[in-house]
């Protein structure tokens, strides 16, 4: 198959010191020789693979010094001929080069197309691809670890191990069916059930890690809420470590929710500073309050803030909104409140002095991430989570009904569970799965 040639800016959009343009496909080298001339005078089609050449990139309307590398297939990321231009950063410049590359015969890559080609050329298995995408999008250290676990194939190996055990049971079942007259010591159903309970525990543990896994990958969202002027914006700034919100004494200053983030123990915390909630007649503020309620609903957790131990009618209404949501009750302005015992509160903080701010961060981490992430393997991807859950459900069904299951039914179920886990390891992946994954891929690598 002749793959057409694709190109894209491989570095993040924005101004940076260096910008990389990647071209992959059969015509990569031809395009390079059209646009790039090495200072040594060597034409691009004579370039040694994996060597960097310094030279000049010339196209209509501009010329710039840059570096050029040629990766010869199959020893490239996509497995195809790849050319990379390492140029000066800057959106305008990079866009002009991309335009020149497209004019020379390439087309702009679709979302995830480079990784898709890498998968197709057998460079990466499914789980590895997904890990790679996460790696690129990783926003925090823990997400990076989870993603690189995936890219390393750790998850695949773990699942493969479980698959192995299932295969063992399946073999037993099959032998007893196909060789019914043989004198073979067969594991009894009790043994089957015991082993399956073990596998199910592992799967459940993996599945349980998903919500915190998802949090690690995507970060968690926390809404700060409370009556107007109880110090939400001050606390917001204190958590972020810099002034993001305007702080005034006038109640209702924050009209829209402000978003900011900090990283704690490697996890990204996205904090929303919501408009103070009260029954307001002012239209704009009223809208802000609506938005606040929406943020509270959508966030993973919340911090309820009040300035007095004695809760007002409004405070109680806000607390009602938090029912069923993980939240921490915080007494604010503890510098002014003079360290009053925070009865009925989880914590009292002072944004001004920074008192208990670290403690609040730690409590938020405990509440939302908990012990789930102790460096163990964590599911961060919905497709994996889904497969693990389905496999666990099949196995749970076997465990419950094993006594009334004939051997052929048992074998059928074991096989199904085994194949379901295979969806993660890629051993028996089907086309629809592949399509689904690749539609989620984002441009960049």
């Amino acid at each position: 198959m002749r793959n057409d040639t694709i190109c894209a800016i491989a570095t993040p959009i924005g101004t940076g010191g260096v910008g990389v343009i990647r071209i992959s496909g059969n015509d990569s080298l031809i395009i390079a020789s059209k646009l790039f001339r090495a200072n040594s005078g060597k034409p691009a089609n004579d370039f040694a693979p994996s060597k960097m050449y310094y030279g000049r990139l010339t196209a209509e309307g501009f010329a710039d010094n840059c570096l050029c590398v040629y990766f010869k297939e199959p020893n490239s990321f996509t497995g195809e001929d790849v050319i990379e231009f390492h140029c000066h950063g800057g959106v305008v410049l990079l866009n002009s080069i991309i335009k020149a590359v497209i004019d020379s015969g390439a087309r702009l890559a679709e979302c995830g197309e480079f990784t898709k080609r890498a998968f197709i050329s057998g460079k990466l298995d499914l789980a590895e691809c997904e890990g790679l995408i996460d790696l690129i999008n990783a926003q925090s250290e823990a997400a990076l670890t989870a993603a690189s676990d995936l890219a390393d194939g750790k998850l695949s190996r773990r699942i493969q191990k479980l698959q192995e055990v299932l295969k063992e049971l399946l073999s037993y079942a099959e032998v007893s069916i196909d060789y019914s007259e043989e004198d073979i010591d067969l594991a009894d159903k009790k043994h089957f059930a015991e082993v399956l309970i073990g596998i199910n525990e592992s799967l459940k543990t993996l599945a349980k890690g998903y919500s915190s896994g998802k949090h690690i990958k995507e970060g968690v969202t926390v809404a700060l809420c409370g009556k107007p002027n109880v110090g939400k914006s001050s606390l917001f700034n204190a958590l972020l470590g810099y002034d993001r919100a305007i702080v005034t004494d006038i109640a209702g200053t924050t009209r829209d929710a402000l978003e900011g983030s900090y990283i704690y123990k490697g996890v990204l915390f996205n904090i929303f500073d919501t408009a103070g909630i009260r029954n307001s007649s002012e239209i704009i503020e009223g809208k802000g309050i609506e938005i606040s309620k929406k943020y509270i609903r959508q966030s993973d957790g919340a911090v309820f803030l009040a300035e007095d131990i004695k809760l007002s009618q409004e405070d109680t209404e806000i607390l009602n909104l938090l029912k069923g949501k993980k939240h921490i009750k915080v007494l604010s302005k503890s510098d002014i409140n003079n360290n009053k015992a925070a009865e009925g509160f989880d914590l009292s903080v002072s944004a001004l002095s920074g008192k208990n701010i670290e403690r609040l961060k730690s409590m938020l981490y405990q509440m939302l991430i908990g012990k789930a992430y102790a460096g163990g393997l964590i599911l961060t991807n919905y497709r994996h989570y889904d497969a693990v859950k389905r496999a666990a459900a099949i196995i749970q069904n076997i465990i419950e009904k094993i006594d009334i299951m004939y051997m052929d039914m048992l074998a059928h179920n074991l096989r199904e569970a085994w194949e379901t886990l295979g969806e993660i390891t890629g051993e028996n992946s089907i086309e629809s799965v592949i399509d689904n994954i690749f539609s989620r891929f984002c441009l960049g690598k």
């Binding site: 050329s121 099959e174 007893s176 019914s180 004198d183 028996n428 592949i434």
Partner: protein, 616 residues
Amino acid sequence: MKEYEVIIIGAGHAGCEAAFACARKGHKTLLTSVSLDNIALLACNPSIGGTAKGHLVREIDALGGEMGLAADEACLQLRMLNKGKGAAVQSLRSQTDKYLYHSVMKRRLESTENLDLATMEIVGISVKDNKVCGVINNYGERYIASAVIVACGVYLKSEIITGEYRKSSGPSGFSSADSLSQNLIDLGLNLRRFKTGTPARADGRTLDYEKMERQNGDSDIYSFSFLNPPLNKEQMPCYLTYTTEQTHNLIRANLDRAPMYSGGIKGKGPRYCPCIEDKVVRFADKTRHQVFIEPEGANTAEVYLSGASTSLPVDLQQQMYSTIIGMSNVKLTRYAYAIEYDCIDSLMLDSTLCLKTIKGLYFAGQINGSSGYEEAAAQGLISGINAALYLEQKPPFILSRYDAYIGVLIDDLVTKGTQEPYRMMTSRAEYRIILRQDNADLRLTEKGRAIGLVDDFRWKKFNERKAATDNIMQGLEEKFTAKQTEKLFKDKNQPKFCGSLKLKELLQRPEISMDDLIKYLNVFRGEEKLLLDYAENEIKYQGYLKKEKQLINKMSKLENKSLPLNIDYFSIKGLRIEARQKLDSIRPLSISQASRISGVSPADIAVLMLHLKKYD
């Protein structure tokens, strides 16, 4: 020069079914063999059926083949295996009178129109412009034919081995065919060497059955063929006995004289059917191995010592067999032997069992690297049907993996190939809850009718059975009240209910069987057991059947994505080298078939799909 439309080389289980199919489809057919005394020879086990094999027999029968009818006629004992393990994997197994089976099959061949039998060794196949045009025999006679089916079993350059003794010979003393191998090589085929073996036969009167476990057949409720009523005849017993530590010690002490270990045997043997030496060495911790004593026929004292095949030298054979419980005075009538033979690489065939490189040249049975009478017969039938369709210039007949075990068998052979004699197993079928032996006729008889192998008699019978089945399924909709089912519910510890329940709702409960419905509610009296089995399974396996049907839907979509035969795999970028080579040599017909080739990864399949999309 004599002229036929089809010539079949070999009159074993494959050759017979192929001959019936071609002749019945109206083609002038010649069936040849080195001896007509080896027609449909049960060269090893005097038994037909068994797990998955019983399914094959039923399927052959449903398509209008012969094996089931002959097996019923020559049956000495019949049992349904796996009764306790679920309906999907139950299989019929019979003890078969090998002499009667041979003569029944010979008589049926003789009375078939358009079919000639001839004793000769075919030494060459003539090919012109990549098309078969005839054969030449050992007397130098030439025959014209547009289709040739090679079904020569284990006879090509076969050698039997017992210890140091080695002789060029076919099984059971029939002569081997030593010339055709070279001709096949000249035609571009790769030959390989496989090995199999058979135990000694003994005079049954010298065994002490008192020391063995007697094994009777089932009471007479089934038969192989859908045309036959449940078998009703006296059955012969088998006996189960065991090897002893003495047996094992003797073998261990003499491994240097066992060709399996001294290097005398180089051919690849089946792992699922090891000789006794192999069992003792590889499973050293087992203190005993099973040996089944099976009758060779109703009119002979000879018995078959199932489970104890060997290639030990004859002096050791005598000693070894007499250490088996109840066999201290055993008189052997025929020594055990291993047999090595040439076979082809089945990956060179397409799904019709035709050689990819020569039109009209078909291969079926053990020559393809399979083992077993039933596997051979199934291939024979399919090759015969396709040879006939080729002559008629009609589209081929291919059963898919979800149509039949036959489909699984042939797809495995031509897609995955085999590194040892291939045996059918239920676990090879991914849709085995659908592919049951109780519904083989419902799955296949209409197809057999369309091909022209199902005659009016069978067609009428099929339609009657189908109507009766529909009737039972309809009957299961009938409602019963709590009062009517009171005793059943009490005996089966079922919770009370109000109103009424349909019979099928009762049957869905694991604790309630079809037999219970008949016994307690007095329904379906007098209906045939096999039909009731079918109905019961359709209800009890409802959820599983639904799931498999969903999977089949998915698979048939991939099955419909056909791959052009002239595709140049080497020019497809992105395919790994191994995949390119495998795809190029196997040339799968569909994406689905390609996905089953070992060495072709899901990534390769994705590349192929992209490639197809591009050229759509």
